[in-house]
Amino acid sequence: MTGSFRFGTPQILFGLAVAILVIFVAVPVLLIFFNALWVNGSLNIADMVKVLSERETYKALINSLILASGVTVTGTIVGTFFAWLVTRTDLPYKGAMKVLFLVPFMLPSFIGALAWKMLLSPRSGYINRFFIETLGFPGPIFDIYTYQGIILVETMYLFPFVFIQVCGALERMDPTLEESARISGADLFTITRKITIPLVAPSILSGALLIMLYSMAHFGTVAMLGIEAGIYNIPTLIYERIHQSAGSFAAIRTGTVLSTVLVIAAALIIWLQNRVLSKGRYQIIAGKSFRPTEIRLRGLRLPLLAFCIAYIGFTIVLPTTTIFLVGGLKTYGLPIAVENMTFDNYHHILFEWDLTRDAIWNSIGLGLAAALITMFAGVIISYVIVKMKVPGKGMLEFLGMLPFSVPGSVIALGVILAWSGKYGVNIYNTIWIILVAYIARYMAFALKANSAALEQVHDSLVEAARASGATMWQALRDIVIPLVRPGMVAAFFLIFLPALRELTVSVLLYGPTTRTIGVAIYTLNEDGETVYAAAMAGVALIIIVTAEVVVKRVFKIEK
């Protein structure tokens, strides 16, 4: 070491990385804990317990637990079953089925919840009305405003977590493990039960924990379907409190206490998941793809195919069609028939109504800005973490990945605490506060994508540039950035696409003119403008699906 401290490119990068993470991630999260635990400047656990033992908060905790457990169980069963069906059997059109089962991943679940509300709400739902009015049933056949209803809808959108993991594991599993059991005289169903399922159990468990993590912190579906029947979970209660009281101290305090509980629960789930994943999962599952033996479904082949098609029709086609049809109705409640249809709603929200037009542009603008900023910040921070030998980079990595375990509502609340004037900057009620929250929320995505890309850039490539006479900055510009560009592009879309359909964060932060697409749909629905909500949801679906398809195409071409 030479004694003198040089202020060059590495120091600038390190400083930037620390500053970004502290300002955007560390401060908001720490403020949550601080506000939850400290009352009037002193540590007060008793008060935290008091808040938690209030009937409503206590109820919300229990509800979160019930809903998350329910969705985890059903989602895991559905996901595992379909994964097995498309990887290990001779089901027809397996490839197409596999793609279709992943579609729910790109659809926002709150739009699904909206559709199901229009179909299965006890009095006005179209299906219930059909059974009562046309078939003469005495009452609704299914009430969506219940625990079962919420669990059902969430399952439709979250089961792919297990589906993806289990498909991957089943495809990579060494078939000799099963073949040797076969030679020992076991039939295929015994093998599935005794060999296959135990071997993929870690993947099932890890997917199940992901479902639990998301469901626990899930806002949209519960807000759409639960509030009407008085079913609150933690995120919806935080929203309710913050909204009703317009940021009063007691409301914020309840919010921070609930957030703390949520963060602890999420951390616990992630810790469990890491333990499951590290438990020798890859020892039995080889890295390459094999052609596993397929189970002959024989007589069940066509019935199971019909079941899959029915499932897809019921969970994807039906709600999506409902959204578009209701969005075209002259008035909500009219029978769905040609003479009741109009394009006026779509025309109105796209070209005439400021509220919805602003929302679309807000979402697109926020998505682009958040994706761009986070992408560049992600490169800098990943570079510091992956390539620079500096003390404290473990801390940086922890901070960057923190938002993975911090639910959106918690981030939003933290951002409110940090940026609404208490510390000199007040951007509350402006679009900037949503941007700040998005940056924090999606930072982990950018870090993951960029770190993966940077790991591929061997140090000697940069050193070769230095030896060729390039300064650190020139080496970054000419060698590192071009080589991590695919990672940056991936990070951009990993952020832009979810930001387009974001609801949880923006619903806590929006102001009169800063609605996002998600917020617009949500508030229109709350205000009883069901037809406009549906039309807006239809437009959102078109934007989201178009963006997804375009991105997938572009990526395919690049490969």
Partner: protein, 362 residues
């Protein structure tokens, strides 16, 4: 053309001393090879020379310029050297021509001059015609040439090569090492070459520095010097396969381990009672009879270019080799179980115990 002077250089990583108080001078225009086992610190020395790491103590001078130590810390891009890395480090997103032209681009060389020199460098390494290829379309050897051309294009006065031939197959390695030698002589640049392969070292070096695991330079000398006049057992062992025999002196005669057989050659001038005698497989001459050491062939394997023998003699097992011309001559070929006589055409004597040589390799 430039010289390199290293004085009292030390470097530790995480409390482990890699280099300790190292002195070395490489003359201008010289091809110098640092030879040592992996982990001996030769790559660290290279990185200190290039400026990727800073020394804990000591100084490095390139030409007359102090580049490291004594308050100086010239960054890699200002040291004016070329470097070829073990893993080639050819930039995968640039074509051959772009890779090679990069140092000139950074130096803001005029475009026509740049093109001319890029083409010349590519021609020098025999890649003419492949300018537009991307690295992924090149073989390992071709990528290595790109790296070499890139290091040569700015006509550096000092070229650092860090085990650049390691990842190549045997034939290519042989071919490339002669090409590097030829280029070095043609361009007259100073080359410092790091390797753990003694064949490469011997083939391309004017002088070789042999390093041991502790980061010390054991011997610096010409290839002949280090091969034939090793300063100690470590250097001898590191430069090729060798037999080591623990010998005991009784009066003026040296006895083999069986306590009976007597060393047939001229006695070494060693004062101690115990010593180690070393010889290489090709140093042993086999005969049917004569006054050499009596032995029995335990194993004979024909390896194509040579015949390899394991021979029990004097209470130890020797490894001996003869070239295949002789081996194919039935009169001079020995079968397993046959008796023979061993004469030693070359020998080295060390006052180190065999266990210390073979165990710790020092």
């Amino acid at each position: 053309m430039t010289s390199v002077r290293i004085d009292g250089l030390s470097k530790s990583f995480g409390g482990r001393k890699i280099l300790h108080d190292l002195d070395l001078t490489v003359e201008a225009g010289e091809s110098f090879t640092l030879l040592g086992p992996s982990g001996c610190g030769k790559t660290v020395l290279m990185r200190l020379l290039a400026g990727f790491d800073r020394p804990d103590a000591g100084t490095i001078r390139i030409g007359d310029r102090l580049v490291a130590g004594d308050g100086a810390d010239v960054p890699p891009d200002r040291r004016g050297l070329g470097m070829v890395f073990q893993d080639y480090a050819v930039w995968p997103h640039m074509s051959v021509a772009d890779n090679v032209a990069y140092p000139l681009k950074i130096a803001r060389t005029a475009a026509d001059e740049r093109d001319r020199r890029t083409r010349r460098a590519i021609g020098q390494v025999g890649l003419a015609g492949l300018e537009a290829r991307m690295p992924s379309q090149l073989s390992g050897g071709q990528q290595q040439r790109v790296a070499l051309a890139r290091a040569l294009v700015s006509e550096p006065s000092l070229l650092l090569l860090d085990e650049p031939l390691n990842n190549l197959d045997a034939n290519l390695r042989e071919e490339m090492r002669f090409e590097i030698r030829e280029l070095q002589q043609k361009l007259g640049i100073t080359v410092i070459y790091v390797t753990h392969d003694q064949e490469i070292a011997l083939a391309i070096a004017d002088r070789i520095g042999v390093m041991d695991e502790t980061g010390r330079l054991r011997q610096v000398g010409t290839p002949d010097d280090v091969f034939d006049r090793p300063i100690d057992a470590f250097v001898y062992r590191f430069l090729g396969v060798a037999n080591f025999v623990p010998m005991r002196r009784v009066g003026a005669t040296w006895l083999f381990p069986d306590g009976a057989a007597v060393w047939p050659g001229e006695a070494p001038g060693l004062a101690g009672e115990h010593a180690t005698f070393g010889c290489r497989p090709f140093d042993i001459e086999l005969a049917r009879d004569g006054d050499g050491l009596a032995g029995v062939v335990r194993r004979a394997s024909f390896l194509g270019a040579q015949m390899d023998y394991l021979i029990e003699a004097g209470g130890v097992t020797f490894r001996a080799a003869t070239d295949s011309r002789r081996a194919l001559d039935p009169a001079q070929r020995f079968e397993e179980g046959e008796t023979c006589r061993l004469a030693f055409r070359g020998s080295q004597w060390f006052d180190t115990a065999v266990a210390d040589i073979e165990g710790g390799a020092r």
